[in-house]
């Protein structure tokens, strides 16, 4: 785990490129549009970070703190976001195709217009999250908590086996 927080974008990118992203303190950092594909950021603190438009293809973010992060239009295909904290994160328009969202926490997260094709949000906690207009084709919400979630306008057939949908809008 890194103890020194990078002071700016270039330091942060250098830290990640050197393999020092695991557990790194990257709070509020601006990584918008950055190419972080395949990087390992397990357990990193990216709360409040700007990752809009970033390339997170196959990026490993298990257990990362992404609360209040901006991931609008980010490419998160095949990203490993299991057990991450996406509370209030903005993922509108993001590409989450085949993303691992197992056990992810995302109260009030915004997935509106995102593509969640064949993603794996099993056992995720997405209370009051918005999936308005999202593509949820083949997404596997098995045992996920979608209480109060907004699924209006979401397209495609998803698997909601044993999911909690109390108060969800469909």
């Amino acid at each position: 785990m890194s103890n020194t927080a990078p002071e700016d974008r270039s330091e942060a990118l250098a830290l990640i490129a050197s393999g020092g992203g695991i557990g790194a303190d990257l709070r509020n950092i601006d990584l918008s549009g950055a190419d972080l594909h395949g990087a390992r950021l397990s357990g990193a603190n990216l709360s409040g970070a700007n990752l809009s438009g970033a390339n997170l293809f196959e990026t490993i973010l298990d257990g990362a703190n992404l609360a209040d992060a901006n991931l609008t239009n980010a490419n998160c295909e095949f990203a490993l976001l299991g057990a991450a904290d996406l509370t209030r994160a903005n993922l509108s328009g993001a590409n989450l195709k085949r993303a691992n969202l197992v056990g992810t926490k995302g109260h009030n997260a915004n997935f509106s217009g995102a593509n969640l094709y064949y993603s794996r949000p099993g056992n995720a906690d997405f209370q009051n999250a918005s999936f308005q207009g999202a593509d949820i084709t083949r997404a596997i919400f098995r045992r996920a908590n979608l209480s109060g979630a907004n699924l209006s306008g979401a397209i495609g057939q998803a698997n909601f086996e044993n999911a909690t949908l109390d108060g969800a809008q469909r």
Binding site: E58, I60, F78, G82, R98, N100, Y118, R120, G122, R142
Partner: protein, 186 residues
């Protein structure tokens, strides 16, 4: 260790190249189809395909074997022989596979198929269709289902928690995530 993922067209199945970054010895894990991107990657990275490892005998994991054998002449390793129309060296639970300086260990994870193998290196485990992110591979009866879950608990969930779990279909995961959140286990 180098690990490179390829999603193939057939059933969106995954293939992986695992390699020793120093010796450049490489292994293809599952071969659902011949894919030019894999050959290109091997060439671009200067990797020598020495071995093919097959997790289980389903066509979406085996149909490309003959093409890779013809082009690269690697050693074919699996739990059954012949497989994909080719003779294979049979390995079983507890066996080790050398790849350059790396050593992988074989675990028996049947259920999805009567013979199913998982291959573990330090930090990476390749499960085929035994375990998926948030799911498990399909089985045809309760006995096979129970056998599969028991094998996963015994052999995969006992690996270090930060081990990356590379699966036959869909995204990779970690041992910790699957132990704590996979709905089939918790």
């Amino acid at each position: 260790m180098i690990v490179k993922h390829f999603m193939l067209n057939v059933h969106e199945v995954n293939s992986f190249i695992a390699a020793d970054s120093e010796t450049r010895d490489a292994m293809l894990i599952d071969a659902g189809d011949y894919d030019e991107r894999i050959e290109q990657y091997l060439n671009d990275e200067g990797l020598n395909l020495k071995k093919i490892f097959i997790t289980h005998d389903h066509y979406d994991h085996t149909d490309g074997i003959a093409d890779y054998m013809k082009r690269f002449h690697p050693e074919l390793i699996s739990g059954t022989s012949p497989i994909g129309g080719c003779e294979s060296q049979i390995v079983k639970h507890g066996d080790e596979i050398r790849l350059g300086r790396l050593t992988g260990k074989i675990y028996s994870t049947p259920g999805h198929t009567p013979v199913g193998l998982t291959l573990a290196f330090l930090g990476h485990v390749f499960t085929g269709d035994a375990l998926f992110a948030g799911s498990v591979g399909g089985t045809s009866n309760p006995r096979d289902y129970n056998t599969q879950l028991a094998a996963i608990r015994q052999h995969i969930f006992t690996l270090p928690e930060d081990t990356l779990v590379h699966v036959g279909h869909g995204p990779s995961s970690t041992v910790a995530i699957e132990k704590r959140y996979n709905p089939f286990f918790v």
